[in-house]
């Protein structure tokens, strides 16, 4: 299972974590910490009800950026592995948009790396959200909320 995944279909983050761990860590006994962030789609933003959302990305650059991000995290913390999954295309409220996870021997490194992955992804990975409101109006999200 790849550690960077972009997908157009809904995914169950907990199921993906289980599959990833089974494919990568079978027989490993030195992992003491798993840190996970899951972002899901809200049905409201900036005071408006949101019906659906579309996520655009830059094919090629987005994957490249995320690959470099994971490598940077592995350089900066002693990690066993990282996993990044991100939806693209049409998304409905309550569906998972993003998952970042980091595995390490100890919690400090895992938690710090997991936070690093999601914050860097939010600030720099080439993704753009367009939301459709109850009124039918579609608008580009101009800025992410502060983490």
């Amino acid at each position: 299972m790849k550690n960077i995944q972009l997908q157009t279909r809904p995914f169950d983050p907990w199921n993906e974590l289980t599959k990833f761990q089974q494919s990568r860590f079978r027989g490993k006994t030195d992992i003491g910490a798993t840190a996970v962030f899951v972002g899901t789609m809200r049905d409201f933003n900036e005071g408006e009800n949101v019906q659906t959302m579309h996520l655009e990305h830059y094919p090629g650059m987005t994957e490249k950026y995320l690959g470099e991000l994971v490598e940077k995290a592995k350089q900066d913390w002693p990690l066993e592995e990282c996993l990044v999954i991100h939806r693209v295309g049409d998304i409905q409220p309550s569906e998972a948009i993003v998952l970042t996870a980091a595995w390490s021997g100890h919690r400090k490194e895992a938690l710090e790396a997991c936070r690093y992955l999601i914050e860097e992804l939010k600030h720099n990975a080439p993704f753009w959200k367009k939301e459709t409101l109850d009124s039918g109006e579609a608008r580009w999200v101009e800025v992410n909320t502060q983490g």
Binding site: Y58, M61, N124, A125, P126, W140, V141, E142, N144
Partner: protein, 76 residues
């Protein structure tokens, strides 16, 4: 000798195209390319990538390169 220019998200809609090609002679910078683009001014917060790496106005480009312009990112 041409370079490929891509636009994403709101900028793609604003420019009315996802991709165009532009002829360049010799070496140019991203800023030189911006001047050559259509009459439409790019918004001040526009980000740029050259060959799928973040770049700046002074980044040099040459024939065969891919330049992308896009608004601030909002993933995650």
């Amino acid at each position: 000798m041409s370079i490929t220019i891509k636009y994403f998200a709101s900028l793609r809609e604003q420019m009315g195209t996802a991709e165009q090609t532009l002829s360049v002679k010799g070496v140019a910078t991203v800023a030189d390319i911006v001047v050559k683009l259509s009459d439409t001014n790019l918004p001040e917060n526009t980000l740029v990538a050259v060959n799928q790496e973040y770049a700046t106005g002074s980044t040099q480009v040459k024939a065969g390169d891919e330049i992308a312009f896009f608004p601030p990112v909002t993933g995650g």
